[in-house]
């Protein structure tokens, strides 16, 4: 017979194993961060950090490293992707959780999940062969590889995140809220928009922010459709920025890493550090939103 002592020992061994495996991800994060920082460091012997972020001239062969153009392109495409993706995603979530019959909502949810499983290079290739020529035709452009095209593809890619998280946020609204609202004479749509969405707002907001993070970090699909020219997006008028090509932060790293060496390589890692800071900021905001959601 197995003694209690033996069971306790097994328990403590297992606890240690679980602890160890949990730590792997933390260590991985630390390792990546330290590695990226160390690799980026040599850049700042030659370029000061301010001009790295505020200069829009990127010309490694002339020793000029400024990533402002890429920061602007990243911010623009990400925001546009979220602006396109949010209404589609939120309304899909409302349809799935509130309006559709069970069978249809299951089917839609299934489709959304498939969308999440498609590799990003497939999105990119779809964009390159379908959306790029379409955009070129619609706007009579020199090339359909534009920031707008990238935003559209990114909007598609963040849909699964927005839809599935918003759906579960809406589904977790207590029954009493809905019943109370209906009992007070509100219509179904009024109940959804005035009672359930406000109640679930922190969950829905989190889904938007996670979508934002996904769009910011996406690479493969973007470099296939965004054109990747290293010029500063034209901000006045703003639509010109979206009708021209541009290069995002992630795109810059992937674009040039293969052949880069020395300072050039360090500049690409520094680009990664800047990206890391952006992603961290988004995550901090997510934490704040979640905390507020719990306390309110």
């Amino acid at each position: 017979m197995k003694s209690i002592e033996y069971k306790n020992r097994l328990d403590s061994v297992f606890k240690k194993i679980v602890f160890f495996f949990t730590f792997v991800s933390v260590i991985a994060l630390a390792a990546i961060l330290i590695f990226t920082l160390l690799k980026a460091l040599p850049l700042f012997k030659e370029v000061d950090i301010i001009s790295f972020i505020t200069s829009d001239v990127w010309s490694p062969s002339n020793g000029q490293y400024g990533i402002l153009a890429f920061i602007v392109a990243s911010v623009l495409t990400t925001l546009a992707a979220v602006l396109i993706g949010i209404p589609i995603g939120l309304y899909t979530a409302i349809f799935i959780s509130e309006i559709a019959p069970k069978k249809i909502s299951n089917f839609v949810l299934f489709c959304i999940e498939i969308l999440a499983a498609i590799p990003s290079v497939v999105y990119g290739f779809f964009g390159l062969t379908m959306v790029v020529p379409l955009i070129q035709k619609i706007f009579h452009l020199r090339s359909g590889s534009t920031l707008l095209t990238a935003s559209i593809i990114l909007a598609l890619m963040i849909l699964p995140t927005v839809v599935s998280l918003s759906t579960s946020a809406l589904k977790s609204v207590p029954k009493a809220i809905e019943e109370g609202s209906l009992a007070l004479g509100a219509s179904k749509i009024q109940t959804i928009f005035k009672a359930k969405i406000p109640y679930a707002k922190s969950g829905i907001l989190t889904s938007f922010l996670l979508g934002l993070g996904r769009a910011l970090g996406e690479t493969m699909a973007v470099i296939l459709v965004a054109g990747n020219s290293n010029m500063m997006p034209i901000l006045n008028p703003l639509y010109e920025a979206f009708l021209n090509g541009g290069r995002t932060l992630t795109g810059n790293i992937v674009m040039e890493l293969a052949y880069a060496s020395g300072t050039h390589e360090a500049a690409l890692f520094a680009t990664g550090v800047v990206l890391f800071i952006f992603v961290s900021l988004i995550n901090v905001v997510i934490l704040v939103v979640k905390k507020r959601g719990v306390t309110s």
């Binding site: 010309s59 390159l128 020199r142 090339s143 470099i223 990747n228 020219s229 290293n230 010029m231 090509g245």
Partner: protein, 269 residues
């Protein structure tokens, strides 16, 4: 319990597998470095050479100028350059052409243009000509497609056509792979791009340059202008790379060059 133990063993085995030593020891005595265009070819040559002749060659990138500089100051035993040697380099280095590569300027199949001059290519890529009608095509804006900074093909193209990297038209689409350049040009009737000759495909149209079509024959007799030599250079009088050169100019070496779709040449002198 047995099950539990075997799971533990399996996990630890997996972990050991993941944490394996970083590949390759850096203590090799023979380093070949330089042009990133030659790098993939050289890596395979080195692999075969190391296997059959038990050599210890390692290959590094960096670019043609890094290659010649490295060969001069002894960082590399052999420097790789995908361009002709400059005068001051020739003073201290001995260059050997091991292969030739043609670069083809490509356009969409629906583009009526069939020929271009190097001067026109330069003006298009530096933004002085922005409409196809200026070189006899349709009245459409030209969509310039180029490769990324650091790419050997870009370096080769820019140095033969004759402009600096920073002069490239700012709104040029940049792609970091030959395949991406091809799909960009095959999908856009207004696009122009350039690729290594070995990568030509049927989806796109290669332009003749000054009326000469790119082929093995026109590259060997030098009538096709947009071509570049793959050079290996050593310090003058240095004989340590003789065995490597013997291997490259052997049938086996030439076969590797052909597999990479470059044009092998006969040994000079």
């Amino acid at each position: 319990m047995k099950k539990f133990l075997s799971v533990c063993v399996l996990c630890s085995m997996l972990l050991v597998g993941c944490g394996g030593k970083a590949s390759g020891s850096e203590t090799s005595e023979f380093v070949v470095g330089g042009s990133t265009s030659i790098q993939p070819l050289m890596e395979q040559i080195a692999e075969s050479y190391n296997k059959s002749k038990s050599g210890k060659i390692t290959v590094q990138g960096g670019g043609s100028s890094v290659g010649t500089k490295g060969a001069m100051d002894g960082t590399f035993s052999v420097g790789m350059a995908s361009r002709a040697l400059k005068e001051e380099e020739e003073k201290s280095l001995e260059g050997t052409v091991i292969a030739l590569d043609g670069i083809v300027i490509i356009v969409n199949k629906d583009n009526p243009i069939t020929n271009i001059t190097l001067e026109q290519a330069k003006q298009i890529y530096t933004g002085k000509i922005t409409n196809w009608k200026d070189i006899g095509g349709k009245d459409q804006e030209i969509a310039v497609v180029s490769r990324e900074e650091g790419s050997g093909t870009r370096d080769g193209f820019e140095s033969i056509v004759g402009f600096e990297s920073s002069q490239l038209i700012a709104n040029a689409d940049i792609q970091n792979a030959t395949g991406a350049v091809i799909s960009n040009v095959s999908g856009n009737k207004q696009a122009i791009g350039y690729i290594s000759m070995g990568s030509m495909s049927n989806n796109i149209k290669g332009l003749t340059i000054d009326g000469v079509e790119a082929s093995e024959a026109t590259i060997l007799d030098e009538t096709y202008k947009l071509q570049r030599p793959f050079m290996l250079c050593v310090k003058k009088g240095d004989e340590s790379a003789k065995a490597l050169f013997d291997f490259i100019f052997s049938d086996e070496g030439k076969q590797i060059i052909q597999e990479h779709k470059y044009i092998p040449v006969e040994r000079e002198g």
